[in-house]
Point group: C2
Chain length 102, copies 2
Amino acid sequence: VSERFALHGCFRAHEGQGDALAAVLLEAADALEGNEECRLYLVSRSPDDADIVWVTEVWTSREAHAASLEDEAVRALVARGMPLIAGMPESRELRPAGGKGL
Amino acid sequence: VSERFALHGCFRAHEGQGDALAAVLLEAADALEGNEECRLYLVSRSPDDADIVWVTEVWTSREAHAASLEDEAVRALVARGMPLIAGMPESRELRPAGGKGL
């Protein structure tokens, strides 16, 4: 695979807002459906904390990810998601080397 | 998506063994190619530490993941990979909620 840029990040929602935040992030995944440079946008929940939401993204390049943040639909979703977020305790940049399923 | 079980884990290779460990993990991804219950097996490197390798897996169920570890080819790769591994500083279980690309 030629993917070169990945992010794995953890969002902490304000108390009780985990479902609402996950819903916004799943809408973001939908908004990216037509973006061929986004290879993966996986929204996951924590098994033991309902206010934690993980997002794992794989992009063809760092620039493609940055450009996506300028998209109107994505910006609208960021604006809706921000008030739900208490913090981002963890975020890592990764370099995809390959694998199955992408 | 119906995926219900994910793992995001970090392996630290013995010094200088990151490439060798990543190669074994990419072989594991190949070995899982025919396993329909494995939806994602993404091998990533750290941008700032050549001895760190990340694996992000999505499975249809916890049981499907456990069963894969009994597979002969997977066991052979685990046996080859183990001596390369200095530690596993981080591993998290996640519950995929949906997204793009799976």
